[in-house]
Each structure stands twice: as structure tokens, then as C-alpha cells.
Symmetry: D2
Subunit: 269 residues, 4 copies
Amino acid sequence: MASVPAIGNAALPDIQAEAPAIELALQEAGITGLRYPITVHLRDGSQHHTVASVSWAASVASDVRGVHMSRFVELLHARRSRISVETMPALLEETRERLGATGALATFAFPLFLERTAPVTEEAAFVAYDCVLEGQLSLDATSGALTTLVPIKSLCPCSREISDYGAHNQRGNVEMRVTFDLNHGEGLDFTDLIAAAEEAGSARIYSLLKRADERYVTMQAYDNPAFVEDIVRSVAASLQPDSRIAHGRVRVVNEESIHSHNAYASVAW
Amino acid sequence: MASVPAIGNAALPDIQAEAPAIELALQEAGITGLRYPITVHLRDGSQHHTVASVSWAASVASDVRGVHMSRFVELLHARRSRISVETMPALLEETRERLGATGALATFAFPLFLERTAPVTEEAAFVAYDCVLEGQLSLDATSGALTTLVPIKSLCPCSREISDYGAHNQRGNVEMRVTFDLNHGEGLDFTDLIAAAEEAGSARIYSLLKRADERYVTMQAYDNPAFVEDIVRSVAASLQPDSRIAHGRVRVVNEESIHSHNAYASVAW
Amino acid sequence: MASVPAIGNAALPDIQAEAPAIELALQEAGITGLRYPITVHLRDGSQHHTVASVSWAASVASDVRGVHMSRFVELLHARRSRISVETMPALLEETRERLGATGALATFAFPLFLERTAPVTEEAAFVAYDCVLEGQLSLDATSGALTTLVPIKSLCPCSREISDYGAHNQRGNVEMRVTFDLNHGEGLDFTDLIAAAEEAGSARIYSLLKRADERYVTMQAYDNPAFVEDIVRSVAASLQPDSRIAHGRVRVVNEESIHSHNAYASVAW
Amino acid sequence: MASVPAIGNAALPDIQAEAPAIELALQEAGITGLRYPITVHLRDGSQHHTVASVSWAASVASDVRGVHMSRFVELLHARRSRISVETMPALLEETRERLGATGALATFAFPLFLERTAPVTEEAAFVAYDCVLEGQLSLDATSGALTTLVPIKSLCPCSREISDYGAHNQRGNVEMRVTFDLNHGEGLDFTDLIAAAEEAGSARIYSLLKRADERYVTMQAYDNPAFVEDIVRSVAASLQPDSRIAHGRVRVVNEESIHSHNAYASVAW
């Protein structure tokens, strides 16, 4: 490819710093959909190499035309090896400083892999839990949000009751999102949400099951039938007493095995 | 396949009508991800055959175990040929009655195809606009929401200014969501949102352009450089004076042609 | 937006017609990912409004730089209301003429909605079958291909056998692709493939089931356990004798309800 | 959840080992869509933590009903930290042994992150390249395949030529797939494919560009206009002389910034 004579940054005008044609403050301007290798740190000290889809933004004052988007990528590259609830406040504070903004927000969506052992043979393998870590800094608050999607097995109580034998069952997903004060979220972590959801389905889901395990899970699910409504209520009842949670939402989606569409239920508080 | 002796509905127990183990009211229980052929009617009388992804739900009282999911599909099958802002209140009212619920909500997500003519040759072809029509009925309100995604072309003002020639440009998407009182949304329609967005980019996007049109669009984009922040402000300034809109959100995402990730900006009011 | 003085097509140079820097013939150059409203005609005379994702291409000779992409969109806009196996040869022939090419190919991917009645109550609703219609014209052949994805319910024979009660079951998808001589594909249609697949699962999948139907489907599935391998063999045995099919491939994917990953099997002939 | 009395594997019947109802050999039966944390090793000795979507299968003889799916997950869990072209033959051989099959195949699809430095400021950040590593073992061959998707920037030669100023440009993706004899693929690696593609676009794509870099890339793209056809030819001309490659396919897709659909070209040899 033909080459281009280079000019340094300092010699080039800063168009983003101009005044905008329309004076309107924006809550968010930044980058989204950036895939990046990150290391997530959980409260138990464990570290997890994973791949995130990252959004990162700052607020824009009414008299500023635009943000300098490359700074978010510089911040991400520098901080990628230590992404956690604990590091989020400092990350947002640095964003605000580097962008000269009053507000900042960052979102990391990634699969978290946790080792699970089969219920009878105890063979180990990883299960993927889709997680989202969000942080937001504004003039008067520092809030965080955790979202986790937990795959479960559900078995239909109606189908079991009305049929002479068998019962339809299927994959379900429990999606939980909780918000909290980032400065007072002591101990809150994805694993809290995952534990609440795995107790609530008809059976857990595993990546590796031998025949003895398959028998166990099949019968366990038949013994614990649950509608989407039942599962939502069970998870919500488990999370609602937690005083660290400012707002919560539980949504369960069952991939009904008698339909191509899904059944769902949700509750927010 | 082996056959099963049939028993009528009336002879089977109604498990959903049972009392739940946990007494907790749910805002939503229903179906989601059901693809269905529908006909969308716009305010100008035009009718559009399209394919929707449908969610439909009702609230669940604290003393009822679950909803009867098949009723949503019956309603959809009966009403599929006339989906519009105007028919939404009756559709929600019927949902509430059939499900014996105090709340109801329905969401139709579909591509809307509008014919567009090329700027010079005036050749015609369809452009797809992703739309979402939502309605919600609660004890004290009947609210609606329209969401539209409008593809545009954006050309970077910074790139143009700092380069001796050329400027990077790319596809962008303007996503607008407005909520309104379903009983007082006179005349509000997807086409209002689309018009606001198509004025705000560096150039419109077409499905069919001949060489003379391509020249026109190329130069028009160069003449109208716009950051995501500029486009958001322009669309918001156009929609904010509309008193029918209760809440609005504009989000613009540029698929930056110098990166694999996107730039975005958003504002809500 | 600022306007641009227009110049007609005829006054502009034709860059695509230039000689390429590297003399290499290309099998395909065209458009892809174009969403368009089309009407699909089946052999039984039925017409189906749907939304397609369209790819359309022509071959490029070694001494020609590029194709004129807008011509595919012109052809699509003109022919959109009559897309079928029967109209494919003429569509390809016209493509070849308009593009001045020796080869042409077109692909339409769309959901086909067929009305299905519940097994006991006989209530009707649409089921979506993802279909792909492909045609290819080269110097010495006119070939077609039909691909259909049929959702089914599968119940695991192993789980049923090893458990004291219950059996895990789930959504499955039967994907069939068959190629044939477009000039001698008499009567071959998506419905042939769909029928073969719906016989092969543990039970069919419906969009609308009342309680009596749910009981029927639950017990029918328990009575007809089938591994992915069983289903593939059953569908293949049904399609292989059809002498109109030049090449076939059957692939079944089960969305295992005891795992987050899928089980699959496939055979090609 | 209620618990289930456990029975060991040995006491349970092996349904998969039964004779099938239809005696038909299957090329593939296994797992697909399993997300797993893996470490990819490249020929230069570098190691890359990433997340893969894994498919793993074995052939099924005509007199065997099904495969034991859990064995693929056991193999993956044991071998996940050393996935590479070099380890593929042993991995396939072990699969064949553990499954008692004549054929085996494994596919790992993952983003590979390589550090790239901006052309002027030389700031570093990761770029994601979607890669697929495939291996297949049959009675008479051990073949491998590498697929890589390389994001590039393309600038339209026609638009540049016919316009008084500016030129439309956009993201493009170069997809290359090459097959080779796994026992004689000395030195072949994803980085060979990536290098070929990055030379062929109008400009490279980066995750981090400062203003001086943006200027460079903008002008470089304007200086190097290229149709999808041009890019395909350039990449193919670069790869075709490589005698290690048995079969190759290059496909370039441009996300046209004047349309919502894409332009593409492809060649196979």
C-alpha cells in the first residue's frame, strides 16, 4: 500500500473540542462493541481469563462538540488485567478525569466459566455463565449493576400432572440484574446471583454428565416441576432480603420443548 | 409415530390456577420470541406484510400460580392482520379480559419496508427500518412506545478536517424510542421518527443507487460531516418539541470504518 | 442537508468495466445481506408473504474488474412477488444477461409460515420453518438447492431407560439440504422436506397447544424416544430414495435440556 | 431441591451401544455449540487465552446406535490448555480411540487477539481476528483447515473517480479458508492468512488511533481504492502459490456505507 507522510498530533486541530451547533448536554458518548481479552477478578480472589464486549462512555457538556474516543481504548488496554466490582470506582474516576467529564459509565459483558462437578460421578467441567458488570459515576452517585444469565433445566408441572407418564422439560435461563451503591456493595458478586438461580430450577445444568449423572438429573427434574412463574418467585424471594441490592429484576425464559417460542416471567423491585 | 388416546381439556386439572408456593405478584408472564406473519397498518392507511418477533404477557396476582400461555397465541392468530398503534388499546384490553389480569403488555418487533427513490435517477427500491411497537395497560395507564432503527451514512468531521483529502465514513444507525399515552397519541407513527433521523446523518442510505446517485451521495456526505454526538443532538432537537412524546431516547451508533468497534452517543428526556 | 449538482450516468466513467490489476476469474461477485419483502410461491399454488435475506451474484471474467451491483437490486425489485423453484431458471438467465456473465447464483433465506392444527383440539396457528432457496447457473448446468430447518421435539432414549421415571427432552432442529437439476426438479418443494422431518422426531412442535394437546404431545414424545442419530437416519432413509435429489445432507441438532451445549449428528450422500 | 438415590454407571444399560433401527453409517455425531475457555498456541510459541465455541464429533458405524457424547467434553477439558495445529493430530487420534470410531473431527472457533500498533503514534492495542481451527481424521487422510476473518477498510474506486471530492468507504471483512494435510502443514498458521489480508485492503483497521493516526489511515485509504473484487484477487494471488494449501477460498464482504446491504466477491481453488 502507498504510504502517507506523517504529521504529529499536536499540529492537528481538535475538532471534538469545538462548540456544537446545537447546545444540548448528552448523558453518554463513547465506544461500544469492542471485543477485548480481560481478566475478571471475583471477591474470592479467583481470576478468570475471558473475552468481553466492552462499552465505555462519558457525558458531554452542552458546549462541547464531542468526546475523544481513543482515550477509552487507552484506559481499557491499561486496565484490562484487573476488571472487578472493586476496581470499578477507580476506573470510572479515571475516565472522568481523562475525558474532562462529569459522568462516566463502563460495561463489560463476558462469559464467566466456573467449574462444576457432576452430581454422582463428580467429574469436573466448566459451565459458562453470561455476566455483565456495569458501573456509572454521576455528580451525586456511584452505582453498579451485576447481570447474570444462569442456564437451568425446567420441567412443566402442568404437563407432569395431566399426563399418564413423562413431562415436557427444557433449557431455561434465569436472568438477574441487581443495582447497588458501588461504594457499599461489600461482598456482592456474580456467584451470589448464580447460587440463587441454581437452587430455583427443576435441576441444574452441567457440561459433563455420565450415565449415572444423567439418571440423577432426569429424576431430580421430575421430582421438582416448576413453571417460569415459580422459578421467578423463588429467585426473587431469595434475593429480595439482601439489603445491599438497591433495585433487582429477575426474568426467567424457558425454551419450551413443545413450542418454537419461549415462555417467560419477570418481576422487578 | 405411536398415537396417544385423547382426553378433552375439561377433564384435565388446571395447574396454573393453583395457589403458588410463594405469594408474590409478578409484573409479566407470557410468551416471547414467537415469529409470526403480521400486517402492520400505518396512520396513512398503508398496510405492510412483514414478519414479527412477538412478546405478549399479562400480570400475575400474588395468589395465582401461572398464566395460560396458549391464550396469547390465540389472540395473536386472531388479530395478526391488523397490528397498529390504533388497535393496540383494544388488543391489550382483550388480553386483560382473557387472562383475568390487571395488567397486559404486547411487543411486536419487525422490519418495516418503505420504498425510497434514488436522489438523481429516482429508481425505486425498499429500505428496511427495524421497528418495535409496544403497548402496556396497567391499572392507571395505557402507554405505548415506538422504537425505530434508521440506517444512515455518517462522515467524520475530524477525519475530514485533519486530512489533506478524503474522510472516513460508514454506516450508522439512529435508534429512537418514544413513549406516549396510547389514548392520546394522535398521528404519532414510525414515519415521524424515520423522517427525523434521515435528515440528521451525513447522507441517507438507499438499497438501489446508480452511478449518478452514488456520486451525489458521496459528495453530499462530504458536504455534511457529522459526529455521533452531532447526529444525536440533531434528532433530539427535532423530536423534543413534540408534546405527544412523554419520554424520548435517541441513540446513534456509528460502525466506524477505521475500527472494528463502534462509536455511539445517546440522550434521554 | 446541503445539496449536490447532479450529473447523469452517461457522463460518468465506468470503473467496473476496466481491466483488473490481477487477471483472475472470480466465481462470485454480488450483494449479500439484503433484507427484502418477497412472496414465495409453492408447488401447490399457495403464496406466502415473507421477509428474505437475499444474496445475488454473477461470475467475473479474468479481464473485467468488477460487477455492477445495482443491477441485482433492480432484478430483485422487479421479481420479488414471484419467488419459487419454477421461476429460478428464468431469474438466473436474466441475471446472466444483465450482468454479461457466464455464471449466476441467487439465494433467498426466509421463514415460511405454515398453518398447523393442534393434535386434539385442532386449534390452528402458524409454525415458522426457516428455508433457503438457491439457484446456480454455470456454463454446463442449472442446479438448485432447498434447505429447510424443521423444529421438532426429541426425548432421550437413554435417559428414559436408565431413569425410574421421566426422561429429558428438548427442542431439536432437523436441517435438510438437497440439490437437484433445476430443469428436472418436478414437484420437489420445501413441504416434502418438512414432512420427512416431522415424522422423525419424538413429537411435532406447535405454536398453539391447549391442555388436552399438551398431554398428547407429552405422552407421544415419551412413547417415541429418539437420539439425534436415530432422527438423522430416519430422515435420510425417507429422502434417499427420491431420485430427483442429486445430493442430500441431513443434520439434526438437539438443544439438550441437561446441558447448555447441543448434540448433533449428520449424514451426507 | 429433592434428592435422588444414586446408582453407579456400571449398573445402568448402555443404550447407545444397541443396534439402530435403520442400518446407516453416519459421518458425524457429537457435540456442538459448547463454549469453553481454551489456550491457543501459535507456531511462534505465543499462547492466547480465549473463549471458543467447540464442535467435536466421531463417525458412527451402521450397526451402532449412537456415540457417547460425554467423552468429547472429557477430552476437551483435558486438552483445553494446548489447542494448536500441532496438537490436532493427537487430539483426533485420541478421539477415535475413545469413541471406537473410524473417523473424528473437531472444530474450535474463537477470537484471536493480536497486538497492533498505530501507524504514526505507535500506541498499542488488541485487534480481534475471528479464527476457526478444524481437523478431520478419516480412514485414509488427516486434514486440517484454518479460517480467519480479517477486518479491513475499503474505499470505493468508482465513488472516488466519479465524485469531485470524497469517496465512500467502509468496514470490510476478508474471510480466508485453507485446507491442508495436517501431517505436512509445516509453519502454516493464522498469522500467514492475516498478513495476506491486511496488505490487500485500502487500509488496515486498528482498535486505537490518535488524531495523527486517523489522518494517516484516512489518506492511505484514499490513496488505495479497492473493490471487493480487487481485494479478493489480491489475497488469492498471495495465497495461491503456497504449496502447503490443498484448497483455498477467499471471500470479501464490504459493509457498504451507502447501503444497508453488503457487497461481496469470492474465489475458490
